[in-house]
Symmetry: C2
Subunit: 342 residues, 2 copies
Amino acid sequence: MRIALDAMGGDKAPDVIIAGALESLEFLDQDDELILVGPQDVVNQHMSCPRRYKSRVHIVDAPEVIAMDEPPVDSLRKKPKSSIAILAKLGKTHEADAVISAGNTGACVAAFQMRMRNLPNVNRPGIAVTFPTFGGPVTICDVGANISCKPINLYQYSVMASIQAEHLLGIKSPRIGIMSIGQEEAKGNEIVKKARDLIKSDPNLNFIGNIEGRDIFKGICDVVACEGFVGNVMLKLTEGAVDGLFKAIKHELMQEKLGLGLALKFKPIMKRIYQKYDYNEYGGAPLLGVNGTAFICHGSSVERTIKNAVIIAKKHHTLKINDKIMDSLSHSSVGTTDVQTN
Amino acid sequence: MRIALDAMGGDKAPDVIIAGALESLEFLDQDDELILVGPQDVVNQHMSCPRRYKSRVHIVDAPEVIAMDEPPVDSLRKKPKSSIAILAKLGKTHEADAVISAGNTGACVAAFQMRMRNLPNVNRPGIAVTFPTFGGPVTICDVGANISCKPINLYQYSVMASIQAEHLLGIKSPRIGIMSIGQEEAKGNEIVKKARDLIKSDPNLNFIGNIEGRDIFKGICDVVACEGFVGNVMLKLTEGAVDGLFKAIKHELMQEKLGLGLALKFKPIMKRIYQKYDYNEYGGAPLLGVNGTAFICHGSSVERTIKNAVIIAKKHHTLKINDKIMDSLSHSSVGTTDVQTN
């Protein structure tokens, strides 16, 4: 298969993107190929491709670059030759079987949606991030693709993220929760309440009901449906809380009499925790619901993130996750439009 | 002053509520009095009040109790003699200068709003929780009083929480952020964008713009305005993330060769962190914008939480936070109704 990467996307592009992509080749099959999308000269300049891989790595020229903080839709209009726009085009024409970017998330979502279009019956795509937690991996959808969420979107996020958790992570009949502000049925805003009724009405879903913020880390569910705004805040808040806590621990360790010694002993433990509960393990998050395999990575992605994103994107494509989503939604008793809120 | 407490509110009521309340007396003035609201016989049975305090502790009978998971408005209607309903009545009639409950949050919000009414010019009250973080305390409003938020509410939360941070926590000209999904101006949903314009237009506010979830722990702002749904998820998510991380650390410590020894050494550090970054320190969260001093505590409050809530409620009342809110809103150039979304 052919996997295309946005060589210019992310805080550390193009170096870590290109290096991570090349690293992934070791884990791919002999007939898998990579396409690096970016200004040809820049990509060439930053790439030192081992000879054995040369025939499997291609460059597609994209002379323009969308910066991380540019307004998504505007920048796509102004820069039709940007790496993100060209990447989406490769996804649309099937010149690439999977596309990956660690660039401007808003621009990626807009480009992938506009170019690649949605799968049949999908109302709005959603980004499905997998959180590694002490209670096991939890897949959260959506974390920012869609900030004007309707009940039908939350229902479809449950269906799509559940299929992903089952097939990509091997979780049988994933337990689905809907993010709310209390476990009782009466809790939540109108969108959540209506979405809950839709999810509940689908006998193919293993729905456990409302969950609260703290439940994410308790191992009580495998999939969480939430609005993109809420999911985005959750994702970044968790990142900040973990970083802040580690800082606090480090600070307190250094206050001890034997602080440095204790800190040294504690270091490998912190490292192991970082490794186990590091979202870089999962590489990137698929934009579920678009007609193709599209992965969006964190702006601060490192080589390992990109390598893992390539490997997981391949798995996503090979396992035909999209076929399973189409099949499930076409047999769903829940409609595809949102009559309740229109 | 007279401070009334819901003796039946919280997971560990009535024991910890009564004990915490009695503990607080040591930190109050000689003419301060406590009113315990609950079924008279139950409160009497669980109270062992030192003789020197007897004249300062009163019981107001409230034979009914609203459970933590009852639907708020329904339960208030069905149980007019519940401790929460009677508490709100004491707040309304000024028989109590401050009211405190660790009971059903929704019922507290509904009762305090309905009985005590809003301060002049306040559109909707909001719960303002103070997060202790490595970067300093951050006051977040709203965390769940209002889940159908309008721009004017977010503006007023900024004003009210800023006054609280300045006077209660001693933070000069608190830096205010609005919770969004990116720091750029273009990011956020419609409510956030409109609220940002309102906050920006008020020259008395020290507004720093959009913040993201991770920024809460970075020390870049002192006050965060957010929708009640989002704030509630944030509050509980942080709780869960910290608990989950400590569990993970404990687990990893025990995997070490000298695990138990290391765990023992690490214990006081964890304890210190728990103390420093424990929301119990701040006791409870005021429902800002109601006409009176009303504090809502976490359902899992312990004695220390209740003791601190009493002390902080007294400070809140003594510092005349509500007068400052009224003064600020009456001089605000921003209206009190939400023409933009109506």
